[in-house]
């Protein structure tokens, strides 16, 4: 196996982008990444695209071919692969592309992630999000994705004394960060009150504990590390990649307050990288719901189980805290176009490690970690990157 580096990144703005279609979005992100990398189209060996549910959101499957065509590569007959693992589809596309270059089969691949969620009405989006749960044994009985995370929050509050305010503080922090990110859906700070007084989504979570419905795309160019310097002065090497699964329904798990998929994916990635959680300088985690960020910092090993709420309250995870989490604004403020999210998280880590994150730059960031979750934790991907 050989080393692989990220040599190009491209993002669209995230948000309710009514004038942009699925194909506009992915073509925009892809061409930005290719321009950023300095490669030419004919050097691309394959495309990997993460999309959770184009079939339900825009009535379109066969997404691999669509993306190759709308990016202008159909006439070059470049292989194009769509991967799916709910809202971890982007992270999974990245891992598959990484494998293909590491194996030596490919030299240069482009990774894309995309979702167009606002072409359907709200209840339809709620139904589609719930397809990441167990349809027969959770969704059939009226559970929703927000409801499932809410049940984790209820239990976490009961078992560890996590407070409603600590959950809200996650959203407040991420909005403060998002305000500095030009790509973010929400670029305004919010107050604790804003979160607590928002309409209830699924007790104990309000609408402001939940990531929004978003359109957007992200793309990355991967290259064999030995050739990366030919294209860029600042290649960012992938030093760890982990993936793990868990029971599809939340009720199948012994401990409701742990995402074992995160624990196992992280263990795999840390081991490959030869590092410990304390060596990480900057983190992007999957805060699709505020409780998700609290679980993530516990399960990734940054704080002990049960102490995530306290860590947020003590500002350990803020921009200038001990372990800055979600400088991009996270899914909460940056937006959460499902399939795009895992790819966009890695793009943020690359910007941070290149020292190009502008107003949200974490000082001296050398090692970054991205954490992408599918549904309510049945899939998790963890990637660790380092400046070369």
């Amino acid at each position: 196996m050989r080393d692989v580096a990220v040599i190009g990144i491209g993002l669209t703005k995230f948000g309710e982008l009514w004038d942009k279609s699925f194909r506009n979005l992915i073509a925009e992100a892809g061409s930005k990444a290719i321009l950023d990398s300095g490669i030419s189209g004919k050097e691309i060996d394959a495309l990997y695209v993460g999309s959770m549910s184009a079939g339900r959101f825009i009535g379109q499957e066969h997404v691999g071919a669509l993306v190759a065509d709308s990016s202008g590569f159909a006439h070059m007959h470049i292989p194009s692969i769509r991967v799916e693992s709910a809202d971890a589809s982007g992270g999974l596309a990245f891992r598959q592309g990484y494998f293909s270059v590491a194996s030596g089969m490919n030299d240069i691949v482009v990774i894309g992630g995309v979702e167009k969620m606002t072409d359907v009405i709200g209840a339809e989006a709620t139904d589609t999000l719930a397809t990441s749960l167990d349809q027969e044994w959770e969704a059939f009985f009226g559970s929703t994705l927000a409801g499932t995370y809410a049940m984790i929050a209820t239990k976490h509050m009961h078992d560890y004394g996590t407070t409603r305010e600590q959950l809200a503080q996650v959203a407040v922090k991420n909005h403060a960060n998002g305000a500095l990110n030009p790509y973010a859906q929400f670029k305004r700070p919010i107050s604790l009150e804003n979160v607590l007084k928002a309409p209830m989504e699924a007790y104990p979570l309000t609408m402001m504990d939940c990531s929004p419905v978003s359109d957007g795309a992200a793309a990355l160019v991967l290259c064999a590390a030995e050739k990366a310097k030919k294209y860029t002065d600042k290649p960012i090497k992938i030093i760890g990649s982990g993936q793990a699964s868990d029971t599809l329904p939340l009720h199948g798990r012994k401990n409701i307050c742990i995402f074992e998929s995160t624990v196992y994916a992280a263990k795999m990635a840390y081991k490959q990288a030869g590092i410990k959680p304390k060596d990480v300088d900057v983190v992007e985690v999957h805060d699709s719901y505020t409780i998700g960020e609290i679980l993530a910092i516990e399960d990734l090993g940054f704080v002990k189980k049960g102490e995530g709420g306290k860590a947020v309250e003590n500002k350990i995870t803020t921009f200038d805290g001990e372990i800055p989490v979600n400088p991009s604004g996270g899914l909460k403020a940056k937006g959460h176009p499902l399939g795009a999210t895992g790819v966009a998280q890695i793009a943020e880590i690359v910007m941070q490690l290149r020292g190009e994150a502008d107003k949200r730059q974490i000082k001296n960031a050398k090692i970054g970690l991205a954490h992408n979750v599918g549904g309510a934790g049945a899939t998790c991907l963890v990637h660790i990157l380092e400046a070369m």
């Binding site: 709620t126 009985f141 009226g142």
Partner: protein, 139 residues
Amino acid sequence: MVNGAVPRFWREIPQRYNLIGNQCGVCKKIFFPPRESCPECRRKSIGKMKDIKLSGKGKLVTYSIIHAAPKNFEGQIPYPIGIIELDEGPRLTAQIVDCKIDDIKIGMKLESTFRKIQQDGYIGAIYYGYKFKPLEDKK
């Protein structure tokens, strides 16, 4: 829910109407919904999984109150939903009924009850199954 053909729902009727699970003949662990084989005993359990009717009694592990519902449930909001651990061991997700929202507590004893779950707005079919209500004190 995905709206559509009826067989998808009637094939789950024994489990959803009567709480039929199954038991591994090797390690005796009980599963709900029934499994093809036991994840622990694996190939040794093949052909040794036996159907078993569950008591429907258990306790509440955690819960939420749904305010933003899927399409087929929009008429029911707000409604409580929880994870229930049955006395026999398996856990499941179900709505909690016949109980004030403020009276719902982690650890409370519950029992299953047969109810309408949802109505498909597209083909009009009504689907039934289990919900859970506070266990009546039969002193």
